[in-house]
Symmetry: C2
């Protein structure tokens, strides 16, 4: 008997049939003698539908009210899943984020979990109830509802698993695990049995939309064993843990991320402090900046180019254009870009990895706009239209070059 946290994303509970499927996975786990806590996201496109409703009324709605709106999505799905489990005849109780004790800071739309006061969840588990918890959401110290940002349900699940010292946190998705590339687009993509937190972190950060990056960070920090697996096929998935069996592979995966926008500020005076002003302002607004490139322009001026997530592009432009020193400067925003990356702990000891990647892009006649590297990954920014081709070419190149 173990304590297992199971998380199901929006597509896993998109309609009545799928809700019933999830109920059967959950109750089978429960009937095997386990304590089960389930974290669910909003059904299918609910969140997007709610965002569309808000956009129609006020495209600049406050984040507090957006959180109030969006948290209704998981509320619907926890209730429906609980009902499906009631029909199967197992004891069950649904809880919203705040009822399950998710205390967050006040950064609406991107809140951080401060602590989980899980007494009510514990007491339900002690009564042998299956507990269904609304993912993605919490409450701040003012009793306002908050959300953890898109994909935050993964974080909810791993955080709850950590708080309750669960034996495993299973993240159910519509794919069978973590692949070396998107299997829908790259025919040779292979499923990994195991992967380290660090590798998964790079993959998650880079847009392999299997696991939210904050959830992996949290798993690493609290050593929560995470399994990524399919809610549709009952086969073993990919286990994310501290040390993974190293297969004879140079890279773990090739990914693309299209939630990227490139912002360029042209022809800045080459005086100290400009970069600080830009990035501290963005940090204050909870906007994460990814790749940063600073180049010398003409005659003592410079250009600064950086990427942010596409969701943040508009607000980034707003913020940047309000900085006094940038008045009158040309500020460009390009949202037709994508970031393609290769990730693998094995690359550290293979200095040829970068050139292999560039060769694949060169052979495909794809122009590289920006480059960023770390110990275990190489990323390039390219035109969005080239992204799928780039992933396929790079994957092919690396998978056929084990002997590098």
């Amino acid at each position: 008997m173990a304590l297992i946290v199971q998380k199901f994303g929006g597509s896993s509970v998109a309609n009545a049939e799928r809700v019933n499927n999830v109920a059967s996975i959950v109750t089978d786990t429960y009937k095997d003698g386990n304590d089960v806590i389930v974290v669910v996201s909003a059904q299918g496109d609910t969140t997007d539908d709610l965002i569309a409703k808000a956009q129609e009324i006020n495209p600049r709605a406050s984040k507090r009210e957006m959180d109030m709106l969006l948290t209704a999505g998981e509320q619907i799905s926890v209730a429906l899943l609980a009902m499906a489990i009631e029909r199967i005849g197992c004891p069950v109780i649904s809880m919203l984020g705040w009822q399950a004790g998710f205390m967050t800071n006040s950064a609406h739309a991107a809140a951080r979990i401060k602590t989980i006061k899980a007494d009510r969840v514990r007491s339900a588990i002690d009564k042998h109830q299956i507990v269904i918890v609304a993912g993605f959401q919490g409450i701040n110290k003012y009793d306002d509802l908050t959300t953890l940002g898109r994909g935050g349900s993964d974080t909810s699940a791993v955080a709850l698993a950590a708080a309750l010292h669960a034996d495993r946190c299973q993240i159910f998705t519509d794919v069978e695990g973590v692949f070396t590339a998107d299997p829908r687009k790259v025919p040779g993509a292979r499923k990994l049995d195991e992967i380290t937190y660090d590798e998964m972190l790079e993959l998650a950060t880079l847009g392999a939309q299997v696991l939210n990056n904050r959830s992996v960070e949290m798993g690493k920090k609290y050593n929560v064993e995470i399994e990524v697996l399919s809610s549709l096929k009952r086969v073993p998935g990919t286990i994310v843990k501290e040390t993974a069996n190293m297969e004879q592979m140079l890279v773990r995966g090739v990914t693309k991320d299209t939630n990227v926008a490139r912002i360029s500020i042209i022809d800045l005076p080459d005086v100290p402090g400009i970069a600080f002003k830009i990035f501290s302002r963005l940090a204050a607004k909870n906007i994460n900046v990814d790749i940063i490139l600073q180049s010398i322009g003409r005659q003592g001026s410079k250009d600064i180019t950086f990427t942010v997530s596409r969701d943040n592009a508009q607000e980034t432009m707003d913020q940047v254009s309000r900085i006094a020193e940038l008045q009158g400067k040309k500020i460009l925003c390009d949202t037709d870009v994508a970031k393609v990356s290769v990730v693998g702990a094995g690359m550290e000891t293979h200095p040829g990895a970068a050139s292999l990647m560039f060769e694949a892009l060169y052979n495909s006649d794809i122009n590289i706009q920006m480059i960023s590297t770390s110990e275990i990954k190489i990323s390039v920014l390219i035109d969005e239209k080239d992204a799928d081709k780039a992933v396929a070419e790079i994957h092919e190149k690396f998978m056929s070059s084990k002997s590098l």
Copy 2:
């Protein structure tokens, strides 16, 4: 400057355009120098859509989980209305039932407000914020979400107006006020300028779907002046208060209620206690019984016939059939019935009112199944298919008989 509570029903916020219309009514009231608290229901058919989703998954879902599901509806509408008001540029904050302090008992799906801890609402008003409160919902002592039952948003609004000693509670609907009959069906129907709580109570109880009856009871108890008016046309509505100007009218209105089912238990042994067992069991399940008729059957047996709301028909049948003494008895349920009533304080002094009503029905060849009377109303149960015709005939008869 006054403190005004405004309540908008689901049809008033059914889409973006209507939400904007409500925002403009609210902010106009605010800009006139008033403090404004707004109570909103779920958008249009949201509640029905959510019920359909639940039905598909589990037709016998627990009431706790149904409440968890349905309260998401108002959560969506408060957020959207707050966003619309943000766009107009007035300070605003949305609150769920529990955030606004609605403490209820634990009768899920039909909870009663125990108290309103309105500190947070008061403090927002003190900061000159428009407060948008989710109607219909509250929280019990276990921190579980509860609902007040259909139409409960009216109750939320009047209760909040009472708790905050508001100067007026405006209930916005899709009609211009309280009419002597349904104006969409009875051409001669007239709008009333004023009506007493008692008369309104009879009309509300009887299915004139303008105001929820519990809200009128609460208005009477705490002497809250209620105005029923249109959210689409900006004209004065009907004011509900302790004493209303008596116009030269015999009746205030003729109504029909189709949310009725007739349950008959045939051929019961004529021993004491049977009726007590039936009705105490139903009371324990929060099922309200309306008209009750007991008749002598053959040879020392009797029949008991009563009406409940149609929503409760299935559960009533379940409960009744489990009573030991009724095993093997024939229990009938007829949902094709409607209750048609005339209401008016003036009837007390006019003994001819009942015969006038029966004459109208007789002239239209409509069979009367059950009759119930009080000081200020007469109700009959008839076939649902005859209901509209009955209302029109009775209305015509009474309106043309002022000299009775």
